[in-house]
């Protein structure tokens, strides 16, 4: 009994229970939604049916309104393991395309964000003129014009990875700028004064003090930035259709009613997002550990 109680206190147990509950709801909902569609088709063709048959068939339709987890798992397995990576039918092929533009856009956005933040912190005029526009730039639903930027840049022969990466860049520079401005200004006042007594110039002040005080903030923003970059890359792939990527996979799935394919792409993008954030988290731990900031 005591053991059971300590088990229920555990976070993993709580997560497992919630996930189990979600799975049960998922299967029930699939039974209801798919069953209704089955009944409709059967009645249209005026075939006799029993509830038992419906229950038996609800989880095996080719294009169900709501695919169940095991169907998605089979599709994921088939499109990852049973296809060569270079094939357009391989989900991994599309994932790598998306990953490439995400990473390029993320790198460009982070560098741009850091540069803007450095400018804002060191220059009064930039602070007054640019900061309000940086914030306003995020109330513009730029994601909505992502496909256009791809088309427009395509018309002047800039195609491939770069237009998509630019969308990712636009989305990911903002959190980095905001976090870095905060971080660069968060340097300990005592340390700043010490540097001033050493007669340090602003460059030394930056490389020896501010840059380090900003690092925890930088990593917190990088985590937000990389998931924003992924969203940008996926949405930017919507109009390019033929060129591949998880977004293209979503769109073609929605054109042809391949619900299982949509869900597989969705799960893949979720895993990709989770993987990218974990990687940033690991880099954070590694770098902060070297500085002795994390035990």
């Amino acid at each position: 009994m005591q053991r059971f109680k300590s088990l229920t206190q555990h976070t993993g147990f709580a997560v497992a229970v919630v996930i189990l509950a979600l799975l049960i709801v998922w299967y029930l909902a699939a039974l209801w939604m798919n069953g209704q569609q089955l009944i409709m088709t059967l009645e249209r063709t005026q075939q006799p049916w029993t509830y038992l048959e419906i229950v038996r068939n609800a989880y095996g339709i080719a294009r169900p309104p709501l695919p169940v987890p095991h169907q998605i798992a089979v599709e994921l397995y088939n499109s990852i393991v049973n296809q060569p990576i270079s094939s357009r039918r391989s989900l991994l092929y599309h994932t790598i395309i998306t990953l490439n533009s995400t990473l390029l856009g993320f790198a460009m956005g982070s560098i741009l964000g850091i540069l803007i933040a450095v400018g804002i912190v060191h220059n009064r005029t930039l602070n007054a003129s640019l900061m309000p526009w940086v914030i306003a730039s995020q109330t513009v639903p730029i994601l909505a014009i992502a496909p256009i930027i791809v088309v427009v840049l395509g018309s002047i022969n800039i195609t491939g990875i770069l237009p998509k990466a630019m969308i990712s860049m636009y989305l990911s520079f903002f959190p980095v700028t905001i976090g870095m401005v905060k971080g660069l200004r968060s340097a300990d006042k005592l340390h700043m004064e010490l540097m001033m007594t050493y007669n340090a110039n602003s460059q030394q002040m930056f490389w020896k003090l501010r840059w380090f005080s900003a690092q925890p903030y930088l990593f917190a923003s990088l985590k937000i930035a990389i998931s924003a970059a992924l969203v940008g890359a996926i949405v930017a792939e919507l109009p390019t259709g033929a060129q591949g990527g998880l977004g293209a996979r979503l769109l073609s799935g929605s054109y042809y009613g391949q619900t299982i394919q949509i869900w597989a792409a969705l799960i893949m993008s979720a895993l990709l997002g989770w993987f990218l954030i974990t990687m940033v988290g690991l880099a954070e731990r590694w770098i902060l550990k070297r500085r002795g900031a994390v035990q």
Partner: protein, 318 residues
């Protein structure tokens, strides 16, 4: 005295550049002489911004005005550059329409744009936003009582925050049809998790001393909630509300790329791109940007009004 003359010269330079851009025949940068004037005008803008930004004495009327004027001047500089370059180099419409062209298109197509705005914003975004934020709030209020559910739901909520939820759009279009209901459903799902996580963090941030105080007052459950928990959670809730106002607009517009009736901002954007009517596309984007900024601003004002007691807002006022 010198500074005054320079300021006057800068203002004159700006005026000259603005007038010339609209007077000269299109393609005027084939004579490189005019580029010189553009460079001068940009320098004039930078100079003016510098002068304004260096008004240091706080609380003076001038400082407040400069806070508004400097970003406005920066915006003006960008618009001037944009207009000059597009007109001066005769940039094709497909690539980039000039701001003046966008405004004319906007004014000429007001009824169409209004219908799109109605379909996307007034129906899908507002319905989805209210439902998503409401559901997130209620769930948080319910979950905060049970540590077990918190442990189970928080990692899941954080996981959901890291994934591109926008991908759910094609599925919602399949389930709820082409009309605004499917877009509202996407908005509900996109706004739910930020609201849940933030409200939960807010409700948990209650100072234990305050909780004890409420206990000594023998406050009832609803009294504790409305007088102690809710006010302290307000800054967190408004963070989520502001974040969601942009997310909701993006969600609704992107969801329209997956199928719509022949009205709506997302439909307009994708249809006009197909016909290469870039001025109409930009006009729609302008409407979307305006709607996004205005709703964000309205929420920020509401936050100021409701959480006037919060240190971050009191600091700004003094």
């Amino acid at each position: 005295m010198n500074a005054r003359i320079l300021t006057l010269a800068a203002l004159l330079c700006l005026l000259l550049q603005t007038m010339l851009v609209f007077q000269l025949p299109i393609g005027f940068y084939q004579q490189p002489f005019w580029l010189l004037l553009l460079a001068l005008a940009v320098m004039a803008c930078v100079y003016l911004m510098q002068r304004l930004a260096n008004i240091t004495s706080p609380r003076s009327a001038g400082a407040k005005l400069s806070q508004l004027l400097v970003p406005a001047l920066f915006g003006f500089m960008i618009l001037m550059l944009w207009e000059s370059i597009v007109r001066g180099f005769n940039v094709p419409l497909v690539l980039m329409p000039a701001p003046s062209r966008i405004m004319t298109t906007l004014l000429n197509n007001l009824p169409t744009l209004w219908a799109d705005f109605q379909q996307t914003y007034l129906k899908a975004v507002i319905a989805g936003y209210l439902m998503g934020c409401g559901l997130g709030f209620m769930t948080a209020k319910w979950v905060v009582r049970s540590p077990f559910l918190q442990k189970g739901l928080l990692p899941l909520g954080n996981f959901m925050a890291s994934i591109p939820i926008i991908g759910i759009a094609p599925i919602m279009v399949m389930w709820f049809g082409f009309d605004w209901q499917s877009k509202a459903a996407v908005v509900v799902i996109m706004t739910f998790f930020p609201m849940l996580i933030n409200t939960l963090a807010g409700l948990k941030s209650v100072d234990p001393l305050h909780a004890d105080l409420m206990h000594t007052y023998a406050a009832g459950k609803s009294q504790i909630f409305f007088k102690s928990q809710l006010p302290q959670a307000m800054p967190f809730i408004f963070n989520a509300l502001k974040l969601n106002s942009t997310l909701a607009l993006i969600g609704a517009i992107v969801a329209e790329f997956f199928g719509t009736p022949i009205v709506g901002m997302g439909f307009r954007i994708s249809a006009e791109v197909g016909r290469m009517n870039m001025d109409m596309v930009w006009a729609t984007i302008f409407v979307a940007a305006l709607a996004g900024s205005l709703s964000y601003g309205a929420l920020a004002l509401l936050e100021r009004w409701l959480t006037f007691w919060h240190p971050s807002i009191r600091d700004k006022r003094s």
